[in-house]
């Protein structure tokens, strides 16, 4: 493994991950947290020789090799492909309203305890900040969003729950997230959105893109029911025209 190198103004180190994958891990502060997700997106759409899978998070880019490919060959192939990617100009982000009903979040007690805020104060602060879709992952249609002030961060559960229903919104570590499908959940569920974020039979399996911005808008449970029956269109949710 070659150790460390610099790519597009980002410091990275290379580590093995099992016998068939490598991790490119950021060692600098996340001045632009979307660098690895954007690189991962481009790599995933045109995978270089010997690479069979790519997963990108803010801090690590995982590159998995075909059976029989050595980690050294995988590293050379990945770095060569990444080196050819020129700096990607920032795409003008789309902005959306994110309607959320906070009335039946199962994990408010934990969130209130960790933040030392009651839920009304927490919700008020949450609505003040823009949230940015930073990563795909976990399951199709799950959206990781950054932008939570540190005061609103909340630890992941020590024992993940068996099931969060589709449309659950939750806080885990520094992220705000939407569960697009019903799946096990290690995050703290604080409410529900009528937005459908998962279209797993399509590619990408969600209508939302990395870099999209969201503004949380509190709604009542009556509105939640109504919007579930009559889901808003993407254009109805846009707040930037």
């Amino acid at each position: 493994m070659s150790g460390s190198f610099r790519l597009l103004d980002v410091d990275l180190e290379v580590l093995p991950f099992g016998e068939r994958a490598i991790l490119l891990r950021r060692t600098d502060a996340l001045a632009d947290p979307l660098v690895l997700p954007r690189l991962g997106e481009r790599l995933a759409s045109a995978m270089p020789d010997a690479v069979v899978d790519v997963v990108a998070t803010e801090v690590e880019l995982m590159i998995a090799g075909a059976q029989g490919v050595s980690l050294e060959r995988l590293e050379r192939s990945a770095i060569a492909a990444l080196g050819k990617l020129s700096d990607h100009p920032a795409v003008h982000p789309r902005r959306f309203r994110l309607p959320v009903c906070f009335e039946s979040g199962a994990d408010w007690a934990q969130v209130e305890r960790e933040s030392s805020l009651d839920r009304f104060a927490y919700i008020a602060r949450l609505q003040q900040v823009p949230l940015v879709l930073t990563m795909y992952g976990f399951v199709p249609g799950f959206l990781y969003m950054r932008g939570l002030p540190e005061a609103l961060h909340c630890s992941r559960k020590a024992v993940p729950d068996q099931r969060a229903e589709a449309g659950s919104v939750a806080v885990g570590g520094p992220y705000f997230g939407i569960y697009g499908l019903p799946t096990p959940a290690g995050w703290n569920v604080i409410g529900h959105t009528p937005l459908g974020t998962a279209t797993p039979r399509e590619l990408p399996p969600t209508p939302f893109r990395i870099g999209d911005e969201f503004r949380v808008e509190q709604i009542t449970s009556a509105s939640l029911d109504e919007l579930r029956r009559n889901p808003p269109s993407m254009s109805e949710l846009r707040i930037d025209g």
Partner: protein, 288 residues
């Protein structure tokens, strides 16, 4: 076209193939067989392409009626398979007359087995694979495990049967009780005592497990606090340890990212062996 009726689906029987690698960036796991060697063996003896969709059975065998004559094979764990109450061997091409019924019982020396039909199973392909990924409703039969009353259809080949040697089946003794692991990126978050415990203690797979992840029962491992760790990539075979200390092994339908420490990883061959461990069966880990 031949038809197969699902009289009883067993515990969880579902269509699988070699899966859909290459989409993990979007959160879509590769899915696919939990014991690829066994699945390929069943297809090979029938002369099918090794990646042909077939039925993966978990823990308890399904009961299937072959409405039309077909050739078929069973492989993997010993489910005590019988055709019209006559025991049949694994890893051989077998002939089923119209109306015959395939039965089995609980798996005894493994957890997963395969039923392959000579020809091509008619099932749903999503992202170029028939592998069932239940959480997102992809693949197989309407994206879900088999249900009582399902009718599976198989396009029969025109040419006569030309199966090949299946290759050696691992002996029962090879379903090892010690599973090899490599240290993971967060290996250092386990205390020294927890390292020793991970490599010496006895664990078992909880019944509270599925194709997404195997939750382990055994001693709680002491792990340094990482409850606000950044989200990181995962691969099938990753051993995560949340704050509770109870390890979870990511499997073929597993999530592609997570925020629990990745203390170890099972290489591919070890993961297949692990997936053949029956829930409740004691096993240990060894460092590779």
């Amino acid at each position: 076209m031949a038809e197969i009726e699902v009289i009883h689906p067993g515990v969880r029987s579902l269509v699988q193939d070699d899966g859909r690698p290459g989409l993990a960036f979007y959160g879509i796991p590769a899915s696919g067989h939990l014991d690829p060697d066994a699945a390929h063996r069943a297809n090979r003896v029938l002369g099918n392409p090794v990646s042909s969709p077939l039925i993966e059975c978990h823990l308890v065998a399904p009961k299937l009626r072959f409405r039309d004559q077909v050739d078929f094979a069973v492989s993997g764990a010993d489910f005590g398979w019988a055709l019209d109450s006559v025991p049949v061997e694994r890893d051989r091409m077998l002939s089923a007359a119209s109306g015959s019924v395939l039965t089995g019982a609980g798996a005894t020396n493994g957890a997963r087995g395969y039923v392959a039909i000579r020809g091509r199973l008619d099932c749903r392909f999503d992202h170029a694979s028939a592998a069932t990924y239940g959480y997102a409703g992809l693949g197989g039969v309407e994206g879900r495990p088999l249900l009582k009353g399902d009718i599976l259809r198989v396009l029969l080949p025109e040419a006569a049967a030309a199966g090949t040697n299946p290759g050696a089946r691992p002996s029962v003794a090879a379903i090892e009780a010690r599973i090899g692991i490599l240290p993971g990126p967060e290996w250092h978050l386990l205390t020294d005592d927890a390292h020793r415990e991970l490599l010496s203690a006895s664990f078992s797979i909880s019944m509270n497990s599925d194709r997404m992840g195997a939750r382990l029962e055994g001693p709680a491992l002491a792990i340094r606090p990482a409850s606000r760790m950044a989200t990181v990539p995962l691969l099938p075979g990753t051993v995560q340890v949340p704050g509770s200390g109870a390890p979870i092994v990511v499997l073929a339908d597993g999530q592609t990212t997570g925020g629990y420490p990745r203390v170890a990883i099972l290489p591919r061959g070890e993961l297949s062996k692990f997936c053949q461990l029956l829930p409740g069966r004691a096993f240990g880990f060894r460092q590779l």
